[in-house]
């Protein structure tokens, strides 16, 4: 009888372990299904880091090259005397368009994320203009950049919106060549990771950086 009880106890323990493993596998399968469904359906999905904003870009915008020597675009800037007038939406650009211009010094790439995020990782060649310090740093920045200077703004990702907001301030102030790299730091990180980022420039964002 004792032998039978011991055998039964071992069997029970084994059954329990198998049961837990089965449940753990079920949890994993459920998480994988939910994850891939979320990634497919949600605009926050990894497959479309810039899709939402880039789809809004008109073909004319997509084809328009950034040329610092060219005359400012014909579209007039909104009058500064009318604060109620909405500033022009900034043009949307992608990292592959920005990269050669940044390398040649044809544009100023502006990082609008918090300064801590910039310090721990940024796109090489970018200058920091954190939104939280905008009031202090805006005047010196504008003083060193003429109204026709080509500026490209970025923030953390396609969903941060900070770059769009800061760019709108510049267009409102009369800047005529203002663009937004809508995919932001994430777009750069993903593009560079594919081409094996050189040591020291790997992305290291501050969590929740916007």
């Amino acid at each position: 009888m004792l032998y039978k009880r011991t055998a039964s106890c071992d069997e029970t323990r084994m059954n329990r372990r198998l049961f837990i493993i089965r449940e753990a596998v079920a949890i994993f399968i459920a998480a994988a299904c939910l994850g891939f469904a979320y990634d497919t359906v949600s605009p926050l999905g990894l497959g479309k880091p810039t899709a939402v904003f880039l789809s809004a870009a008109t073909p004319a915008i997509a084809q328009a090259p950034i040329n610092p020597t060219a005359a400012p675009p014909p579209t007039p800037a909104p009058p500064q005397t009318s604060p109620a007038a909405a500033p022009l939406p900034a043009q949307i650009v992608k990292w592959p368009e920005v990269k050669p211009l940044l390398d040649s010094g044809a544009i100023t790439l502006v990082d609008t994320r918090p300064s801590e995020a910039f310090k721990t990782g940024n796109i090489p060649g970018a200058v920091s203009l954190p939104k939280e310090l905008l009031e202090e740093q805006l005047a010196p920045f504008m003083a060193s950049h003429p109204k026709h200077a080509p500026l490209v703004f970025y923030c953390q990702s396609a969903f941060c919106g900070v770059a769009q907001a800061v760019a709108a301030q510049f267009t409102g102030a009369g800047y005529t060549d203002v663009r937004v790299m809508a995919g932001g730091y994430v777009e750069w990180a993903m593009a560079e990771a594919k081409d094996s980022v050189p040591p020291g420039t790997l992305p290291s964002p501050v969590g929740g950086a916007r």
Binding site: R16, F19, F28, S157, L202
Partner: protein, 170 residues
């Protein structure tokens, strides 16, 4: 400490782990691309495709395990995953710490607590060293709960097991 107090303490620990997992998962799901960028920063020796799969599945693993722990069902399976996840976090943050990588761990979204990103407190709470210690503690707590007797961590038993628990007619 009597059994009831011990059971309550273990339940509180289970809720704490569950709550932290849900909080971490929601923060990641709301900023999936940021989480993916953070994963890249760890410089893990994994292919891009694998890192993407991790970024897609991991937050849901955390969410499901957290909800199961809070609800008090499938506890041991959820604890098993919680231990595995925290052990992996411990290894990743530990490696990053040793390599001197200054990475925000990307573990928890601190904004709901009113902690401004970039502030000194946020930087400390998100630092690699603190993340390592936190993950190690949580991994320990998970394994302690997992190894508790079933009576203290109740879960639904399989029907075959219930059959075995019936009195032996012999």
């Amino acid at each position: 400490m009597n059994a009831a107090a011990k059971s309550r303490g273990l339940a509180a620990l289970r809720w704490l782990i569950g709550g932290l997992l849900v909080w971490a998962a929601l923060g990641k799901l709301a900023n999936l691309q940021d989480f993916f960028t953070t994963l890249l920063a760890y410089r893990l020796p994994l292919a891009m495709g694998m890192l993407k799969i991790i970024a897609i599945v991991l937050p849901w693993m955390e969410l499901l395990c957290g909800l199961l722990l809070l609800a008090g069902t499938r506890i041991q399976a959820a604890l098993l995953w919680a231990f595995v996840l925290f052990a992996i976090f411990t290894a990743c943050t530990g490696l990053a710490w040793i390599r001197g990588l200054h990475i925000a761990c990307g573990c928890l979204d601190l904004r709901p607590l009113g902690i401004r990103p970039g502030s000194n407190l946020a930087t400390f709470l998100e630092s690699t060293g603190f993340a390592f210690l936190r993950a190690a503690l949580l991994a320990t707590a998970s394994i302690v709960l997992l190894l508790r007797p079933a009576s203290l961590t109740p879960t639904r038993a399989p029907s075959s097991e219930l059959r075995n628990l019936r009195p032996d007619p012999s």
